[in-house]
Symmetry: C2
Subunit: 329 residues, 2 copies
């Protein structure tokens, strides 16, 4: 089976389980936003990682599905609260919960999702429970720290690439690491194997986020599903912008100063995006980002050789990493 | 030792443990609000209940303290997020977190407190972990449901006393029940004893909340620490207002209609509070509230006779219940 079909198999299995989930109907303002959020779809990357890695360590599917749901529900909770904090209007092409309902509904149904996520985790076999909860909580705390750093960055002009990489490690990558480690945990993997799977997930996460930054600028809007240049328009401190602000000199420096912090920040979309992209081009940032993605992706693959996984399973995970880090959407 | 001194002993033990808690310093906007919130004090009723009940079942103090902290941290997380939702400016005489910092800080540091609360719970002896987490999560979900009901009530004019009692059972009482049950759980109590302790806590919680409604109207501002009539000023649907709106007739009905939903809702404080209080007086609501408090409080005491607790311990808990439900602050 090719990797895409395998991915879709896990996705189907997860979605069937998700659809079997039943929540109380009342109070409606508490539970409707949760059903809405969970039904918006998305790649379901984290639960697929958990299901796939758990399979490789021989876990029972019925033991893993609640863990996969826990991780996906947690992920969607963070998106819901992040959207309130970032005043985002749209998520996956649909109005965000705080826009469709209001801030209070988004805060409280998000809190409920966090508790439900922990609750699904208690369905894990009891001898894995303590480890699973500790991994979940440690990861959650790191993600909050990452979100706070991201918000702090908005007020700063001196963010370094190293700080940015640490922020996306916390905000995005550790959850991919935890999704893989959770699969290993429920499969009863050794601590060496669990550590390696975690490292794989974290490096995949770093590559994945850089790919996101790249697609926002050079992606095909048809495939990416969003307008190109969104990050540039809101002056979001991505790998690209931070590197450019650190390295640009002369006219390029003036262009950034004008469009990012200066009078040009409200310039028409095409003008602003084209100008900033030309600075990126002059610095060769597209190639550098691609090379950085390749390097994290290679790290994710190479760490697999440290595990006790079969050559077949190593090759499946390698293909998955390659598929995810060369995606166009 | 009298009950007040005993309470203060547990309080001192809890506060010492709380002060020994160490959190990371960075990101500052994530952790400073948590330290601020936890240091605002309050009665610490929930952790005292956990410590006291656990002692009665012979639990080790070091096993119970993290559980007590978990419950208190959870309680403070709910206050923090509730204050954002209710746009409250002051909590325990100090600015609320969203006023002192901002909404985003309050949302994210609240999320962190919820995860930290779950994390402290994992320090419980491992054979109690699953039960403790399930009790914690079930209680948390009920509290969110209660908060949503409370917010829904603001938009409604037909709330019944039965609905109000169910709302405060969820929003306030189940956490007192859970605090007691958590103590029983860590002390290895039988399921009958645990159920009885839970019932005690829930009835204590109902009495406690009605006492709060009462103090808001007839309390001594010096002792209560807040201006009298706050609930009347914001038209909060308490036991008193709901009963009055259901039962008032003639001129009393007109007074309520004028001051609560009508043109008089922005009338000067003294005028509005005096007018609504006169309706309460005409309906004998002070006496009825006192009698209702006495009845829940008696239920809380009577359920103790079903337990295997010693007569001494039963009398200690009865004194505690009486102290808490005859409080003036």
């Amino acid at each position: 089976m090719n990797i895409k079909d395998l991915y879709n198999d896990y996705l189907t299995s997860f979605n069937a389980y998700l659809n079997s989930m039943s929540l109380p109907g009342s109070p409606a303002h508490l539970y409707e936003p949760i059903v809405y959020t969970m039904s918006l779809g998305g790649k379901r990357l984290r639960p697929v990682l958990t299901l796939m890695t758990a399979d490789m360590f021989g876990a029972k599917r019925s033991d893993v599905l609640p863990v996969a749901l826990s991780i996906e529900m947690f992920h969607n909770f963070t998106l819901l609260h992040d959207d309130v904090m970032d005043r985002a209007d749209v998520r996956r092409g649909r109005p965000t919960v705080h826009r469709k309902w209001n801030d209070n509904v988004a805060i409280l149904s998000g809190d409920t999702m966090l508790t439900l996520a922990t609750q699904y985790l208690t369905l894990v076999p009891e001898h894995y429970l303590k480890g699973a909860i500790e991994l979940f909580n440690r990861t959650a705390i790191e993600i909050y720290e990452g979100q706070q750093m991201d918000m702090d960055f908005e007020q700063r002009d001196d963010v370094t690439v190293a700080e940015y990489m640490e922020m996306i490690r916390l905000k995005t990558s550790v959850l991919l690491g935890a999704a893989c480690r959770m699969g290993a945990l429920v499969g009863g993997a050794s601590s060496d194997d669990s550590n390696a799977l975690y490292e794989m997930g974290v490096n995949l996460g770093l590559a994945f986020q850089l790919q996101d930054d790249l697609l926002d600028v050079w992606g095909d809007p048809e495939k990416f599903g969003k307008q190109i240049g969104g990050d540039i328009m809101c002056g979001k401190k991505t790998f690209l912008l931070i590197t450019a602000m650190t390295e640009a000199t002369g006219a390029d420096r003036d262009v950034l100063a004008y469009y990012i912090g200066g009078d040009g920040r409200c310039a028409p979309r095409e003008q602003k995006v084209t100008a900033v992209m030309s600075v990126y081009d002059n610095l060769g940032l597209r190639e550098r980002a691609i090379s950085s993605i390749a390097s994290y992706s290679a790290k994710a693959v190479s760490v697999l050789s440290k595990t006790s996984l079969s050559p077949h399973n190593i090759s499946v995970l390698s293909e998955l990493i390659n598929m995810l880090t060369s995606r166009e959407s």
